[in-house]
Symmetry: C2
Subunit: 374 residues, 2 copies
């Protein structure tokens, strides 16, 4: 059986699979790229055991069947083929021809390759009884706002994931490492209630896929221990993912989110971020401490460490009483990371958690940063 | 004493020093950036023990003296200063001000910092009795053409350097790892005869400096165990380097350069390189073997390894008898690396060294590649 399609179409589509399919794996089958042929469609698929991905592209197909080709040489070749068209002939081997270049690649037997279960583009299916429908950009924004706050530590493993909460008020993403917390509320009411935790590294792959697709709809489906995604644009199915979930859920975090504040500071995010970066160059290299002294219309940033001292002053709009507070500059910078324009920094004292959030829009994003003890 | 100058001028100039000055060193003084003030000029200097570098920039200076500031925070700060102007005040500490930002950095005592000897911009000096004058682009081209062929192995340490040969016929650069060899002859006759070997890693720094300066003249000076460089543009001294030399010199390599050929192939470099890359994807992963079969007006490239087979055909202009020969594709690709347009591949049999060189110009560059045994 054979299939032909434009080279550019293929090289665009394989970039995402290239990230997922490992170059080495205890299970060598995972180092293979799957090709599934059916009339009019070529489906490319791959997995690393944690993340499964399939991409479909229109192609001139003759015959039908599933094949596993060694992913690394296939990807390398596709990137550099001389012709505009690629022709594949699949049998005992894969024969690939493009321009004056010809190659024969050995195939792996498909027995033993794990069966991949993806959600349906059409709606809830047997392996995925719960399904939410969101915009691609909405889901991207939701995950992207909180991902940074997830933990890298083995300790309290659950914090190495991002929690997704589905409820009648919408979809919330939460991440924390126990020292700071980020959450994003997307106001898209869902007909079911459920909390799941997605490994942060798999969130990175999901975010990458969403960014590359850019626009369209995504069906977010929940199955046994698995989060499924099916992405469509203009009504046409583009790609599907399945991501293994973590066991357990976050401890109650609501109580660390401060609700009352003695000082509300409104800052221009960009100049504040730059000043924080500059001043923190001088900060202690262990705790990255930067002192903020909020007073009448301005904030004085200062830091001191082995190299010396630095300070800078910025204008700020304040409601409330002057206050001195200190933060780990990295945590504060990361909390400001997803923001632009103006940000609100809401404080209730030098030892109580502070809240960072955007100004002048529905909150959506909230980040809790705990001050350093002065 | 104090000095002020535009921020952009400083950040342009420190990039090269940033590469040389180590962030950690057994001698902590090396992690410092030197500032030498004299009327009208600020000289920045640094060293890692192997490569010394000084950069001079015009500045509004009040006073004179030499100071050592911690390089890492200084570089980080300079990149992100808020103002257009930077003001430094030097005394017991360095005070830096720019816009609303102020910092005080501690200084290290200059005692104990090694004295750096650079060649003079004016001509031979006591520590550098021999001096050659070249164009910046000429020296860049000379070093850049051969650097790739230097060895990374501990074995036969001398091959981890690039040999520079000064003579009445010009300046030659040679590099080899014992399996292949590259040389470049620059036809700039010199009034002295001398061979020196520069560590390949220091050559990388020299090449980087030459590329960043782009044009002008460079005095290449030889002192005791040291190669010095002084770069000028439009008659004005820009920067100076001193590089520690290796001991010893290359064994006689002239005898491995083939002089007679049974086949001369003329190829378009770019398509040949691309075909080699594609076909070599299928090559054995140990020896990267690609077979070349030269015959009547074409060459057939083929390779075979664990993944399968690949082949491609290219048109070629031949003088001589058909020949089959095999190379390590990486070595052949690297030998073609500095070339564009047309290249000549000169062969004298499937087991004798081959020569790669440009076509239609004074040779200058020659690369010897030894075929794999068939």
């Amino acid at each position: 059986m054979n299939v032909s399609f434009p080279k550019n179409l293929l090289s665009e589509h394989i970039a995402l699979l290239e990230r997922v399919i490992p170059s080495r794996s205890p299970n060598p089958l995972y180092t293979h790229l799957g090709l599934a042929l059916s009339p009019g469609t070529l489906v490319l698929f791959g997995s690393n055991g944690e993340v499964d991905l399939e991409v479909r592209l229109p192609a001139d197909v003759n015959g039908q069947g599933s094949f596993l080709v060694p992913a690394q040489p296939f990807f390398q070749l596709v990137r550099s083929l001389p012709g505009d068209l690629v022709e594949l002939r699949l049998g005992a081997e894969l024969e690939l021809a493009s321009g004056l270049f010809r190659t024969r690649l050995s195939l792996a037997p498909t027995e033993g390759y794990p069966e991949l279960f993806f959600p349906s583009f059409e709606g809830p299916s047997a392996p995925y009884p719960l399904q939410a429908s969101l915009g691609v950009e909405d889901l991207f924004r939701t995950l992207h706002h909180v991902r940074y706050a997830a933990s890298n530590e083995e300790y309290r493993a659950i914090f190495r994931g991002v929690q997704l909460e589905f409820s009648e008020t919408g979809v919330r993403a939460v991440a924390s490492d126990g020292y700071r917390l980020a959450l994003y509320d997307l106001a898209r009411p869902q007909p079911f209630q459920k909390k799941v935790v997605v490994p942060a590294r798999s969130v990175d792959e999901v975010v990458r896929v969403l960014r590359s697709v850019g626009a369209g709809e995504v069906a977010l489906a929940l199955g046994q221990g698995t989060l499924g995604l099916a992405l469509r644009r203009d009504g046409e199915g583009l790609l599907r993912m399945a991501v293994r979930l973590m066991e357990g859920e976050f401890p109650d975090y609501e109580r660390v989110i401060p609700k009352e504040f003695s000082l509300r500071a409104t800052l221009e995010v960009e100049p504040f971020r730059e000043a924080l970066r500059r001043v923190s160059v001088l900060a202690d290299r262990q705790n990255h401490r930067v002192d903020l002294f909020f007073q009448e219309g301005k904030v004085l940033l200062s830091a001191e460490g082995d190299y010396g001292k630095g300070q800078e002053e910025l204008p700020v709009h304040l409601e409330g009483a002057p206050l001195a507070v200190a933060y780990n500059a990295r945590y504060l910078l990361e909390a400001l990371g997803p923001l632009s324009g103006q940000a609100g920094l809401l404080l209730s004292g030098p030892t109580s958690p502070s809240l960072v959030r955007p100004v002048g829009e529905e909150p959506g994003y909230q980040a809790v940063v705990v001050p350093l003890r002065v």
